[in-house]
Symmetry: C2
């Protein structure tokens, strides 16, 4: 199949079509409009076969996750997603695989009213690069640098599920078929917290999404905000399935360090605490207060029921740990 045929068959005029896209797939570049008084948020993430997903991962999950991790980055900025561009590197053109891939791609983008506006298809090892763009009102973007001592630390959803799902897929962890299905789904089909991100625009002092693990990612907030964190590990939100398949200590380890959760960590000043909690009850995402920002610059103080807690696990996924 030639590149143009492939694009026409699988990508052109498919999925959600937006009015702010003046020209989508089919010219040298897409042409789009952004609303008045809005800034543009832009993020790029690449998933490589065998590095970011297991080789036997269904094509639908590969596409879904590639979109999700990018929308999660926009969510962490408080941005509303609008458009994605896709670069797809494929060893060969496999129509069945591409049908599955586009199913995952358009399912998630349709849900968030996001349009695929362009991209590239190349021959190479399987890898998916997505650039996602969205809008955020001027001066409203959530950053990593606004946390202050005394702010409360929250996370959305539950943590550690994705890490357990990966261990199950690799045969390193046993679970009932129901729990396995739940945890694997959390690993393969993460939910970007788009609504939570936009709701936090005027309430959170800092925000980041959890891709590399809670400890690794909160560290970015601490480094950029020049502060520390006290985390009460007994408050970490753990799902029932995760509680059933691992011990409490293992669940805490996964929650702290496994990554791939794509939940948001955010900080909230005391004055905004009740506003945020009220807002979160109005849509279907839980937010759990897990600790507080401190003045101990760069330091994370882990406590379990007010006693020091020793975490021996590795701190987050490192993309280039050897060289």
């Amino acid at each position: 199949m030639k590149e143009f045929d492939l694009i026409n068959r699988f990508f052109k005029n498919r999925g959600h079509q937006r009015k702010d896209v003046i020209m989508g797939i089919g010219d040298d570049a897409a042409i789009t409009k952004i609303p008045n008084k809005q800034c543009l948020a832009v993020t790029t993430d690449t998933l490589v076969n065998g590095v970011h997903f297991l080789p036997e991962t269904p094509a639908e999950a590969v596409a879904y996750k590639a979109v999700a991790v990018n929308l999660s980055d926009l969510a962490a900025m408080g941005a509303e997603p609008a458009w994605i561009s896709l670069s797809l590197s494929l060893p060969s053109t496999d129509a069945v695989w591409l049908d599955d891939f586009t199913k995952g791609l358009f399912e998630l983008s349709q849900y968030y009213s996001v349009q695929l506006i362009g991209g590239d298809t190349v021959r190479g090892t399987l890898a998916v690069t997505i650039t996602a763009q969205g809008f955020v009102p001027i001066d409203s973007a959530l950053t990593r640098s606004g946390a202050k001592p005394g702010d409360w630390i929250y996370v959305t959803g539950t943590l550690g599920d994705a890490g357990a799902g990966l261990e199950i897929l690799k045969g390193e962890l046993q679970a009932s078929s129901e729990d396995a299905e739940y945890l694997i789904h959390r690993h393969q089909y993460p939910s970007p917290r788009v609504l939570a991100g936009t709701a936090l625009r005027r309430s959170a002092s800092a925000c980041i999404d959890i891709s590399d693990g809670l400890l690794a990612d909160i560290q970015h907030i601490l480094d950029n905000s020049e502060c520390g964190a006290l985390i009460n590990v007994e408050k970490l939100p753990i799902s029932d399935p995760l509680n059933r398949v691992v011990s409490t200590d293992q669940a805490i380890d996964l929650a702290l360090a496994a990554g791939d959760d794509y939940e948001l960590i955010f900080t909230v000043a005391e004055d905004y605490k009740s506003k945020v909690e009220t807002a979160f009850t109005s849509f279907n995402v839980n937010a759990t207060c897990i600790g507080q920002i401190t003045g101990a610059t760069g330091k994370i103080d882990l406590r379990c029921n007010d006693k020091p807690f020793a975490h021996s696990g590795q701190r987050g996924y490192q993309h280039f740990d050897a060289s």
Copy 2:
């Protein structure tokens, strides 16, 4: 080297810094502003080692070309480039290679006042994906669909040089060291016709850049504009070095089909012909009239000194010719 160290050392706060970038590298997404009454032009291109460039290509040239082909797409829309995002897939972190790579990346982006605003670095086979963004005034984008019978067909610069440069690199063509240097440089360091593209905004009826070859690329204009083309091959602009290293017939073949030139093909209505020619004399890019749009939908009529010309070569590079 860890990913964050790699980004901090080689990419963060380097190259041109723009005032419209509110937040560049270092958060979950970049935040930028676009000017009033401007649309956004967005394009993505990926270069894969061994597919889009020879394995021994200098890192500087890989980066330069990856930026150039994207800026060329923006130029073909009449857009002024502003920001690029980079996804870099590397088998390992090689500081010498990365130094050379960033030299090429920042040289070209600095020249066009373009800022690197984000991206991703992953472990994998060597591949470079760039998403480039730029501005074009509302209703001013150059498309493939506006050509009309009678419009004149122009190309910028000279054609076929890049194809000859590739043949020299592959040992398939001999040339003096001076000519070889020129032609290889044209292959490895293409010049995106940014100024030409913006100058054509209100004058050209259609425009595309030549990546796959003149015949393959003009065909997109013909298909989208529902018209045909008469091309006078004796008028194709051929550089002196190319004329010295190949026969006239070979030069025409390269000009028609080799691709990788990243010159612009554009069409101009009779009423705008003198305006365009005057404009092009004011900056240092040649534009040559090579033929005229016809009513023979989808058909290309090649003539040499008014006689039919048979072109036996392949029509442009096909990215997925086998499956």
